[in-house]
Symmetry: C2
Subunit: 436 residues, 2 copies
């Protein structure tokens, strides 16, 4: 026999339990975001190619799935569409397309698949769900704080309670370069090296800064010493000597103040001078979230006031964040293996018409009722089916029962059986579920 | 200014109310299907090209969105993947891929987008949701009846109560050709012409059958006369003269018997001798559903015992149906224009920290609370924002209120205002919602 066809490399078929588990997570997130007044947005799976092209940098652009032109143009080998690579470029496009129809500010969430032709590996897929919230059109620090709170509550709804927000600011990062007199040309690589302080030792970082980034050993040591210190006092003091540094710290502190006043515990939102994120488009406060038991960062975000314009939309301020839902779901996978079975499995030994009615009545009561659809007339075979379906209860309606106008109701766990009138069977079974 | 970028031709951006309306419909359908014991299945947005190729016929194959190879192979202009064109081919592939892991029979539903490069027009999109339920691995007529019942209840959950199932059978259709001695070569076109009896007059159909299909006028007249008669007595009598005809009628009658016994009203499921559907892959009972107020058929299905094999899976019996969810949603569009607004809009005239806390408390109570994120310090401007958000209640916290430790709670419809202590504001507002 030929090898059975598989799902494409890097994609998954999601079977029943996995679909239900994911849907529960997405619904929980939606509900949290809705409570903050965020609106759902769904954009098409693909965009016109020119909307996507040139937005992600050279490396990333190789990972874009492009769609071939159709009809007589197919032979050209050219593409005119591309699969969604993230939710941000489509958001910028939507702001341009629907501007006037959208509320101001526009607060939206997007939970849906994006596609990237990354090399597939354990836990990395070519089709995966991204979960974004963004507020477009507000400069208010309340908007940033709202994103942080929505992320924190969203994580909580996913069962991730022990998380920590590391907060920094683009301005504070630039001030850092300023006060330590670091050349702008090496600035980004210096910051990227500093960001490794969460993984490697201060000594290692000092060595890299002086060997590879051209900092003098003195500067490298002072910088790392200030940043890796137990408190942020020294680094705060240094940053406080410049206007940019004061502005950056003010931004960080205001975000922390607003978030903690709204109920986020103080130990869960911390100024973290080494935390960088991408410098490409963030303009204000930035944050990254870690949690015990989860690898890497499980959420992140910040303010990016000119990104919408850079992506082809109007020049409007914006801030937003995203939850690494796939990473979280993967980490939780082993915890949840519950299968949804049938509530009631109806075996069939004749009397199909009456059994169809009984199944319909049970569904009316909100029960999940399935009827045997196989070809076996052996009860043992049918009970094996009921067992395979994880049924809590099986209904038997053999010739004895039919003659008496009754059914046998069997508890599949205990094996207990009871004969009840078929007309009263729905109530009987409903009561069994109500009392359990 | 340059023209703003648009969504690709034939696709839509789904804004808040539309997303919510669609999600409610999909969730309602899922719940019905689950109650019958159907399991959800989600397959990737694209399949390997060879899984899709050659499955849909020549015309349809032009409508498939193909994905260009990536990396160094992009320049070849060749495709290696294709977007999902329906849910049936992926189902056949899944049966092959996961066979042993799936329950027997495998009852699954799929509600998700498919992509077809049809010429876009009013109400026809290139990205649209299909909603399928199928039972794979059962020959039982109970399986067919279950599909009919699940479709009927699914339609009911969508608010379509007045629907009629027109039932026929592939065997009855072939028997029709047999008893009227119609050449097999013209058979399919004769049946297609007969199927027009729901739209055009019997005379017109008779004329087409004799002029274009090569039937003698006598045969055409007898055939149409029998089929268009007020009762099915005559056509039943004719079909009853052949074995194939009797088998076909038995199939139809058994389906009707099981469905009506399970509660479907007799007048809602009718043997319809002219009803054809595709002959290509149906092997048993077939049905099409119409409803007052909805154009064309809004659901359809049947038994197709060898389709899974023809589509690349194993040779297993199957039956299934699908609901024309996009058509139904489009027809209902004008009825539902409800917008989801904020429950509580918090204006900001200072006191942000306290307001953030109040907003969090209101969300804890299950209310949808948004805080003003604009730059205006004018209350009138902020109340306009609250109004634009369809807020039921606005909260005012000006310097007077701040000094008194109070807020003003304003009913946005009546304009009624009340001053309450800010610490009691959450309870006060919660009670306003509870009592309304």
């Amino acid at each position: 026999m030929a090898q059975a066809a598989q799902a494409p490399s890097g994609t998954r078929d999601l079977l029943a339990d996995e679909v239900r588990r994911r849907k529960a997570a997405f619904d929980a997130l939606s509900q949290i975001f809705e409570s903050f007044g965020f609106d759902p947005l769904e954009t098409p799976a693909f965009e016109n190619l020119d909307v996507i092209t040139g937005k992600y940098g050279e490396e990333a652009s190789k990972l874009i799935f492009k769609i071939l032109k159709r009809g007589v143009h197919e032979a050209s080998g050219q593409a005119d569409l591309a699969l969604r690579y993230d939710h941000t470029v489509p958001l910028a496009r939507v702001i341009g397309t629907h501007g006037a129809k959208l509320p101001t500010p526009y607060k939206r969430y997007a939970i849906g698949p994006v596609w990237r032709a990354d090399r597939p590996q354990e836990g990395r897929f070519r089709e995966f769900v991204q979960c974004d919230i963004d507020t477009v059109g507000s400069l208010s620090p309340l908007a940033d704080a709202e994103i942080v709170l929505a992320l924190a509550q969203g994580l909580g709804a996913l069962g991730v309670h022990d998380c920590t927000f590391m907060v920094n600011s683009r301005k504070a990062l630039y001030a850092l370069l300023e006060v330590y007199d670091i050349d702008a040309a090496v600035g980004p690589s210096v910051l990227a090296t500093l960001d490794k302080l969460d993984k490697v030792s201060p000594d290692h970082v000092i060595k890299e800064l002086s060997a590879d980034r051209g900092l003098t050993p003195d500067v490298a040591e002072a910088l790392v010493g200030d940043i890796a210190a137990d408190t942020t006092d020294r680094i705060r003091e240094r940053l406080g000597t410049t206007e940019q540094g004061r502005a950056g710290l003010a931004e960080v502190d205001r975000l922390i103040e607003l978030a903690t006043n709204a109920g986020l515990a103080k130990e869960r939102i911390i100024y973290t001078a080494r935390m960088v994120r991408g410098l490409d488009y963030y303009t204000g406060a930035i944050y990254e979230v870690t949690a015990a038991g989860y690898p890497g960062s499980i959420a992140a975000g910040g303010r990016y006031d000119h990104l919408v314009a850079a992506l082809g939309g109007p020049d409007v301020p914006a801030c937003g964040g995203s939850i690494g839902i796939e990473r979280i779901l993967a980490a939780q996978h082993s915890e949840n293996t519950e299968q949804r079975g049938l509530d009631v499995a109806l075996t069939v030994l004749g009397g199909e018409n009456r059994l169809m009615r009984l199944a319909a009545d049970l569904r009316e009561e909100g029960l999940r009722a399935g009827i045997y659809l196989g070809s076996s007339t052996k009860l043992s075979r049918q009970l094996k089916w009921a067992n395979d379906q994880n049924a809590r209860i099986a209904v038997l309606y053999g010739s004895d029962e039919q003659a008496a106008g009754e059914v046998t109701v069997r508890d599949m766990q205990s094996g207990d059986q009871a004969r009840v009138s078929i007309d009263g069977a729905t109530r009987h079974i409903r009561d069994m579920f109500a009392s359990s």
